[in-house]
Subunit: 145 residues, 4 copies
Amino acid sequence: MPSKAEIVEFVKREFPQNRCAILEVGRASATVRHHVGAAELRPGGTVSGPVLMTVADVALYVALLGEIGIVPLAVTTSLNINFLRKPSAEKSIVGVSKLIKVGRSLAVGEVALYSEGISEMVAHAVGTYSIPPKGSSAGGVAAID
Amino acid sequence: MPSKAEIVEFVKREFPQNRCAILEVGRASATVRHHVGAAELRPGGTVSGPVLMTVADVALYVALLGEIGIVPLAVTTSLNINFLRKPSAEKSIVGVSKLIKVGRSLAVGEVALYSEGISEMVAHAVGTYSIPPKGSSAGGVAAID
Amino acid sequence: MPSKAEIVEFVKREFPQNRCAILEVGRASATVRHHVGAAELRPGGTVSGPVLMTVADVALYVALLGEIGIVPLAVTTSLNINFLRKPSAEKSIVGVSKLIKVGRSLAVGEVALYSEGISEMVAHAVGTYSIPPKGSSAGGVAAID
Amino acid sequence: MPSKAEIVEFVKREFPQNRCAILEVGRASATVRHHVGAAELRPGGTVSGPVLMTVADVALYVALLGEIGIVPLAVTTSLNINFLRKPSAEKSIVGVSKLIKVGRSLAVGEVALYSEGISEMVAHAVGTYSIPPKGSSAGGVAAID
């Protein structure tokens, strides 16, 4: 399986626009962090929903790469997110993902999202990923930002 | 109920970073469009997932404003999106929303997402929104981008 | 593609415990109905959630059979249901499904659920189905009741 | 907060048709079990989807009662379930729930579903519940079976 450094390198090369730092890649799990600045904030001082969704998706995608190897064609097929609490305007968003199932063609995982250093979850997401058979071309959406 | 022009003005003032054009506001429905350029594309020439989620959320939020009036504190409580087909790299994303229920405190709606001018849906989303009682402060996440 | 009669016959044979009547099988769509009696009611005179979920699943499954032919191994991979209004205790539940995508290996559809004869939706569901390659054995859950 | 015995008594009285045994009520969590016999099985020897959904809903509902007290009017507003593996035909289904957020008016929780004694999850669900203000009448669906 790929090392954390190999995954970091792959994501940097393939997703140059990605702004999530990869903090950890574990056993079917990952931790990523997204800086929160003016661009991520919304009226009322909250973090925008798409930033939270992006962190969820990247955290799951990285955990999946750690399990199945560097598979550029794995694509998000669904994301279900519940927004639970207003995130802090002054803290990064941290996403901690855990894969629940990694099958041959489908993977499912969940993500807890936090304002860094605060123990109460700000959002919770469940995502599903399609893992295409070797040699096939991508048919879905790489939601990674 | 507010006119389309009033909603456009409100969104411009409150969400200056929003990049979705509001094309229509109808009866419990709305149509919005997001330009697709280099910033929205991902490896393989696909549109990023967060762009699709943003369009879904804005389309629902605008439809909700059209139903309940200008309520800045309405917040997204959940979004469930299924990615169906690879969007075109050369066409804008259009979101067509329809509210299914608008209750006193909760609204639910669905959105069909298309590459502009192509009849097959690229994604489908269902979102729920919390409508706070008058005079209360925001407790959730304005997911609008 | 199979006729409605063939689908009715297949469901009767394979799912003898099913209590949904198949009213219509259309183009990527279906309408089914579940009787509501004492067994389906809950305190407060409401219809139980599992009855609504069952109707949603059967409506989608029947629509899928109508599109891809009699495929006993198609299995539900996810169901997302929003409960919108209290159903009537005196009316059957009717589910009207519409497939959004039927791919080679995955299908997605949505269902509107009503108390028969009342125009406001009581629940709305989105389901995904896995269509196994020919010759494979079932790996999932036939959620049909 | 109510004891496990009080919750068992309440569920028995209010939901006489419920067939889930309440094994544990913990801190924002619960464990319930549903027998699997001929009535719960489907062609291919799998457990029906609605049985899994019922266990998920009861496990969440019981955890919620344990947190907010005996509130008969708490209603399920959404359930999102992913079916992961074929459950055993010879084992009960066990649901282990954990509440993620319990707000004043909305609660969110997740449930892991297992075939009893087997460590791999057969399904995973996320549910949301509306907690009506005191004195109000029920507006939703008690999904409990």
